[in-house]
Symmetry: C2
Subunit: 339 residues, 2 copies
């Protein structure tokens, strides 16, 4: 059978035209779908987040099962009865300055009565370095670990503020307390929770303020939020009347983790309250606290917030290129000497 | 009297010729004077250094006269007799992290018996902040000050290694000890001198090693000299058989100030030994120690130099631009709140 060349050409042209029309009709650009699309995307994102949370909870559960604790260990210092225990949650990760930071902080904590130090490593397994360190540090401690999910890990070139460190570690600490408070002296009644990073600086006076917490205590933090100090402004009775901060001014709690302490009772009452790694930058603390308390619950401490007793110091990241050079030459600093 | 024009011209030409010859004979370029020149320059430089040292000594004398000390103060903790005192010399300067660094260090030192803390401010006058801090810190202390000479001050853009901080402050501490040892318990016999910066990290175990010093003790320092650790390598008897370092390998004492302690007796015996601000970069410690001891005098401590008990940590310089913005707007962080 033969087709006339003219027809053939016309057919081909028609097909092309039809195809073009069909594509045009079916293509997403042919009608406005922005709203629908973003709704769907949001739903998907929410699902992902729910799943992530679930995985996190499971991970935490697994990790908690193998937590190392000296809380009830007869070799570690004993807790004085009838004085609230301060549960201080400290995330930590492997780096050149880790042991130095932990050493320095532990020596401050050695001055504090009834301190229970919950050290949570950002690692797949508990490291020998931290395990040995804690065993020797003469403090009541619990040693936990959870590795930060890959998508939340900050690479070395990203700025510090881009991704928050220690989120999953703090959550693990909270959940450990929720699961273990019944075995604590007095079932943890009256105890207080405080988040304390390993390179911050704490005046030992701060711990008296922490221990006196009734629901939520707040105080200024030195060298924080880009300012000489950031935090609550109080009247003479300790009522918070304003917040001193330079950015993200809409935050209901414009405060760093080092700037508040919360009663363990409250944490137990709101058993699902967690720190959300997907919070907007700078909103971690506000989003977390808003699940449990109101800004009006905040009680100003440290001489009505006129005293700075904690500083958001950071340990400078050391330069490692000389060591790398020696490693390349097969002559690293003796690895048997722990630093 | 008239001169013949011809003669005049000849005379002028002769004079010019003579002048040229004389200049040629006297000019430094006419013979090779490199050696002589550099000798002269060196002599001049030496003189300048001597004068500088003299000025420094005078300055120190003036400052010492008005030193604040709680060494014999009945309100500060008392020294236990028959245990050597550790005189720890700490230079400090005004910056955002100063109070945090001093707070953190003081809380480590509070664990140490018979510790005399010599805090030397880099300032024209003693600051209220440091004076108040020391009064409250519950340690035996002496408060001194000397401002670093202008030519030795590092500007904010110069790299850290370019100019050494704390030289004149450490020298003032040494000279204070030389002048005051006779009024100390046991006249300072058996006491030990240690240089400890305010942002280093010290394991409290280190102070047992310091106190046991016989002449010169040495040990490795963590995160130092570009390496994971820098310092002596010892045999099983604590004899230093090598030094682990990555640069300036010719130094007789390739060690940081944090890596040694010296008996006060030795410092008293060599009464003119001082730290020289004009030492080559990295040679401060070596040039200082070489005035009093030999490398063979060094005794390796801290489990034969197998343990790191001090880290050369640095506190990160905070970003201040938000505060500067608020200051420009006339709304600085409340200056009455001390940080």
């Amino acid at each position: 059978m033969r087709i006339h060349v003219g027809t053939f050409v016309i057919c081909v042209l028609c097909l092309l035209l039809f195809n073009a029309l069909a594509l045009n009709l079916l293509s997403p650009g042919s009608y406005d779908c922005t709203t629908q699309c973003s709704d769907t995307q949001n739903q998907l994102k929410e699902s992902i987040n729910r799943l992530k949370q679930e995985i996190l909870t499971l991970k935490q559960k697994c990790s908690t099962n193998e937590s190392t604790s000296s809380l009830h260990d007869s070799h570690s210092p004993s807790l004085v009865p009838h004085i609230p225990v301060i549960h201080m949650i400290t995330p930590t990760y492997s780096c050149w300055t880790q042991k130095a930071d932990l050493t320095r902080l532990s020596q401050t904590l050695m001055h504090i009565k009834n301190l229970h130090w919950i050290v949570v490593e950002d690692s797949d397994n508990k490291t020998g370095l931290v395990a040995r360190f804690l065993k020797k540090c003469n403090l009541k401690y619990t040693h936990l670990n959870v590795r930060t999910k890959k998508e939340l890990q900050r690479n070395s070139k990203e700025p510090v503020w881009r991704k928050s460190r220690g989120v999953e570690q703090r959550n693990l600490g909270l959940n450990w307390l929720r699961r273990n408070h019944m075995t604590m002296p007095g079932k943890g009644k009256g105890d207080v929770v405080y988040f304390g990073d390993d390179d911050n600086t704490y005046d030992i006076e701060l711990f008296d303020e922490i221990r006196a917490t009734r629901k939520l205590s707040v105080w200024p933090v030195g060298i924080c939020g880009g300012l000489r100090w950031e935090g609550p402004v109080c009247d003479d009775k300790g009522t918070v009347v304003d917040w001193h901060r330079s950015w993200a001014k809409l935050r209901p709690f414009p405060i760093d983790f080092a700037g508040f302490a919360i009663k363990l009772d409250v944490v137990l009452q709101f058993s699902t309250a967690e720190i959300n790694p997907d919070s907007r930058i700078g909103w971690l603390e506000s989003d977390f606290l808003s699940q449990m308390v109101q800004p009006s619950d905040a009680e100003g401490r440290a001489s009505n917030c006129k005293k700075v007793l904690v500083w958001h110091t950071r340990t400078e990241k050391p330069k490692t290129k000389d060591e790398e050079r020696l490693i390349a030459q097969g002559q690293p600093s003796d690895p048997l000497i722990e630093t």
